[in-house]
């Protein structure tokens, strides 16, 4: 019987919007689910490939022969990689590259893929580049206008580009690479002169063998690892990829849930209308002897069938949609993704059922309370279901879905509270806007008055529609207009001559030459800063362990290498917040000026003594001052600065940042030819790369938020459907009074234009406010209010709502007036 009821109600068109709401929710959830599941399984399946071995030891020591020999003795396969950034020179052009020098056998797990042309067919290869050759990523060719066969310079050596490197298993996705790859043979490395003492280089020993032996080998060397060394195994995979996955899951999941919430509103409004239209059916069934339980069972089953059908469609659409997300984020996280699995189907059906329970069933429960007397008297009152129960059900269901997506109780509570508070604020703002607009009624013509009256007479429904669209448009505005505004404003907030190039890996004996070079080309006051690499090993005599700290940042900071610099004077853009800067009497004393935020992260205070391992010797420094550093300036700054006369005898590397105009930039080739070992980093190029990656991620997120707009449309249609009878009747009265079709159309246009404009205005104001908060609190610059954000919001709001609204109400205009008048007011 429930199937028959479903079929009848479906033909009546009452349940279409409810089904559409469910489909939108399930599609958005499963699309994200399928995608993140693919990454998750990809990470698991390719864990060994992702490190290129079964076990990897990473070190900053140049000489890792002890590990190599030991692994060879145990009959493991061994290879090494040496990775660093350097500048590739081709004629007068320079390009920063990520260089990887590898030994025979690399990679031990997974294969390299190469091709002869940038986009030609690629083949797997077990070799590495021959001596004198390099394999490069295709984008390096594009950047420098190179072709296979051309010669490039790296440091003091020249190399032939022999192949295009299409895939290397241990590189992961594009998100993790700033510059294009150059793969070379380790045998060529020394001759380049690029590896000098203190240079920023990562050395890796790759080991492969039977997994049980690898595990016991890992246990054996675990305790012998030196400071700054780390073991990665096929079981750990790549922690940074797992973090990226977790964030993607949380963020995309949250984006999908906003659509679920809005679609839920549409489902709930249809369920309310459905309930009120079925009160007579309920009363008649009671009259015929059906128990309250039977009635609820019937209607619940009807909804359950609908939910299962809609969830199936949603899952199918989600499956198709995830290909869209994969296309947009192609190779950003992983180079190859496994095909989708069906695990997310479970999530899809669960979403359908949870939405049904949270949004559709509570209003239906009032059917249980229909008194049989209603068959005789329509005005018999029905006790409505308690509001607490209805809203409680919604909150519990949202909580469940959020928990499933995010999986962190604290974060879920915060996010849920944040969503509810935001929606309440938006609803209040929408209500005030409607009230303000209502005052204009006396000043406008008949059609506009009628349109405005339609909005103010159903304030709850109007507020819901405005907020539903407002949220969708706000997110879109934030992601598109405001995001680029924020980036532009931030870049513009930098002084015009902010440094745009970093020069690193400069040796002590090159400092004078480099200063001279820049002076000769009109780049004045070039100051090079020394830095000595050191590890924090003791605090106040106690050994430092990452496990002593709770925050991830603290754990990371204590295990990373510090660059200790020395200086007579404090950088002009630094500000002392505690202690005092040293005088010439203190030169030679191991004092330390520490960046204030780092001190806070590590719980360090003035006069604490920090022991740093500098090239094998532990030197104890006493904190004598804390500094606030403005890292946004692109000036060279250090967390740790010591007085002159302490570290000068240690191997130092020098670094500087300079502002170069277009002409000075052209001449950089001469600098690199003169000092082949130095590395030049062009800030503009890096910013462009970051923007490209951000654009791709944003596009994918926008794609998910499209469902929010669709859910907003479902809310609008649910509201239109709820008032359809009333609209027909009112249009019939207007027709009777002599209104022409154009007047009726203008009335509808006025109503939807106003709704759209209010949604857009609300969205524009909220997006601008959020941007302002972001600028003030995170980016730390003055946000320039942009009126075009609000205007874009209003125009998009009007366009979407007017088109959808007019389409949704067109049947109202064609309904014969005499019929509507007979039926009377709904």
């Amino acid at each position: 019987m429930s199937w028959r009821m479903l079929w009848r109600d479906w033909r009546g068109g009452e349940l279409t919007i409810l089904a559409v709401g469910l489909i939108i929710a399930v599609t958005s959830i499963t699309a994200v689910g399928f995608f993140t599941d693919r990454i998750e399984r990809g990470l698991k399946q390719q864990s060994a490939e992702l490190i290129g071995a079964d076990l990897v030891i990473t070190s900053s020591r140049q000489d890792v022969s002890d590990y190599i020999e030991e692994a060879r003795e145990q009959n493991f396969e061994v290879a090494t990689t040496t990775q660093f950034r350097s500048v590739v020179v081709f004629e007068e052009q320079l390009q920063l590259a990520e260089v990887k020098a590898v030994t025979e056998g690399y990679p031990l797990r997974g294969v390299l893929r190469i091709s002869n042309t940038a986009f030609g067919p690629d083949t797997a290869i077990t070799d590495i580049p021959a001596a004198g050759d390099v394999w490069v990523e295709a984008r390096l060719l594009q950047m420098l206008g190179l072709a296979v066969g051309d010669a490039i310079r790296l440091g003091s050596s020249s190399f032939n580009i022999r192949k295009i490197l299409r895939y290397e298993p241990d590189r992961a996705g594009d998100m993790f690479s700033v510059a294009p790859r150059v793969l070379m043979n380790r045998a060529d490395l020394d001759a380049t002169g690029l590896i000098s003492a203190g240079a920023l280089v990562s050395y890796r020993v790759l080991i492969a063998g039977p997994r049980d032996r690898i595990n016991s080998y890992r246990d054996a060397i675990d305790d012998r690892l030196k400071q700054g060394e780390q073991i990665l195994t096929f079981e750990d995979g790549r922690p940074e990829l797992n973090t990226a996955l977790e964030r993607a899951q949380q963020f995309l999941g949250l984006a999908a849930l906003i659509s679920v919430l809005l679609a839920g509103v549409a489902v709930a409004s249809v369920a309310y209308r459905f309930t009120s239209r079925h009160l007579d059916t309920g009363a008649m069934l009671r009259c015929l002897g059906a128990s309250q339980r039977t009635i609820i069972q019937l209607f619940t089953l009807e909804m359950l069938w609908l939910s299962l059908l809609a969830s199936s469609v949603g899952c199918l659409l989600g499956f198709v949609t995830q290909f869209g997300i994969t296309e947009l984020l192609d190779q950003l996280v992983l180079a190859h993704l496994p095909p989708p699995s069906f695990k997310s189907l479970l999530l899809g059906y669960a979403t359908g059922i949870v939405m049904l329970i949270g949004f559709a069933i509570p209003p239906l429960l009032s059917l249980r309370r229909v008194p049989p007397l209603r068959v005789l008297r329509k005005d018999v009152a029905i006790t409505p279901v308690s509001g607490w129960f209805v809203y409680g059900a919604v909150i519990v269901c949202m909580f469940l879905l959020l928990y499933w997506q995010i999986g962190n109780l604290g974060l879920v509570s915060t996010v849920l509270a944040g969503i509810l508070v935001t929606l309440l604020i938006l609803a209040l703002a929408a209500y005030l806007l409607i009230a303000a607009l209502n005052r204009l009624r006396a000043q406008v013509g008949v059609a506009w008055r009628f349109g405005l009256a339609n909005i103010s007479r159903r304030p709850a429904s109007s507020v819901i529609q405005i907020v539903a669209f407002g949220v969708g448009i706000m997110v879109m505005l934030l992601l598109s207009t405001v995001r680029s505004d924020l980036l532009d404003d931030w870049q513009q907030s930098l002084p015009d001559n902010s440094p745009n190039h970093f020069v690193i890996n400069v040796q002590s004996d090159q400092v004078a030459g480099i200063t001279e070079y820049f002076d000769a080309r009109g780049v004045s006051n070039t100051r090079l800063y020394p830095m000595v690499r050191a590890r924090l090993v003791e605090i106040n005599g106690q050994p430092v362990r990452a496990s002593d700290y709770e925050s991830e940042r603290a754990k990371h900071m204590v295990t990373r290498e510090f660059n200790l610099s020395w200086a007579e004077d404090m950088q002009i853009d630094n500000k002392l917040v505690a202690g005092s800067w040293w005088s010439s009497q203190d030169f030679g004393t191991p004092l330390l000026s520490l960046e204030a935020r780092l001190a806070k992260t590590l719980g360090l205070q003035m006069s604490d003594v920090l022991g740093f391992d500098v090239n094998g010797t532990v030197i104890e420094f006493t904190i004598s001052s804390l500094r606030k550093v403005d890292w946004d300036t692109f000036n060279i700054n250090f967390f740790t600065v010591v007085p002159p006369g302490v570290l000068e005898d240690k191997p130092a590397n020098w670094v500087t940042s300079v502002y170069l105009d277009a002409e000075q930039r052209q001449q950089l080739g001469q600098l690199v030819r003169k000092f082949p070992n130095i590395t030049l980093i062009d800030v503009d190029t890096i910013m462009k790369r970051v923007r490209t990656i951000m654009d791709r991620v944003t596009l994918a997120v926008e794609f998910i938020f499209l469902f929010t707009i669709l859910a907003g449309l479902a809310v609008l249609y649910a509201a239109i459907q709820a008032n359809q009878d009333q609209r027909r009747f009112e249009n019939a009265v207007l027709r009777t009074l002599g209104a022409k079709k154009t007047t009726l159309l203008l009335g509808l246009f006025a109503e939807f234009t106003t709704l759209g404009a209010l949604s857009g205005l609300l969205a524009g104001l909220s997006a601008t406010t959020l941007a302002w908060v972001l600028a003030e609190t995170i980016f730390k610059f003055d946000y320039a209010f942009d009126i075009s954000v609000a205007l874009t919001g209003i125009v998009s709001g009007i366009l979407i709502v007017v088109v959808a609204g007019m389409l949704g109400t067109r049947s109202v205009l064609t309904h014969p007036p005499i019929q509507s008048l007979r039926e009377g007011a709904a």
Partner: protein, 230 residues
Amino acid sequence: MVDNTSRTFVEARNLGKQVTTREGVLTLLEKINFSAAAGTSVAILGASGSGKTTLLGLLAGLDVPTHGEVILDGRCLNDYDEDGRAQIRAEQVGFVFQNFQLLFGLTALENVMLPLELAQAPHPRKTAEQLLDRVGLGERLHHYPNQLSGGEQQRCAIARAFSIQPRCLFADEPTGNLDSETGKRIIELLFELNSEQGTTLIMATHDNNLSQICNRRLQLDAGRLVGNDD
């Protein structure tokens, strides 16, 4: 009182209406012929389902006949499309319904202003205020329909109907939803205004007493005109 009783204002010629249902063709009205002179009042009598409202709808151009034609002020409504007929209604026709049919989102004043604005009459607000005052709702201009009693709603509907000084007023069971005392006062008001403006009144009712106030009576039965005391 305005004297405009010299000529026919409404005329039905061989009027018929059929609708197609799943069960077949259903005849609602058949071969209706009558005319009403300008300024006279005509009652259409008949039981529920006899076709009174359908006839009223056809006469007012709210629906189109399957056969025959309606001539309103010398114009055949068949020659006009929906917008053309709406224009004629806006200029010449007023309506009073059993269910008052006020728009719930608009105040009493806005409801009465509505036809004036549609007809682009000058000073709609002032005219509406005067009319509401005339029907005794001068203190309730800004009340919404749900804040008015049934009798007050019908007064408001009457003010709305007379606001454009229509040449013809159609009333469909105007007292059907009111108690007898209120109904009586409403009828008095209706006829008072009718007489003041010299309007042609066509009223559908099943109330014999009410029909006696009209100049003429037409009796409908199952869609056929069975009595015409012309």
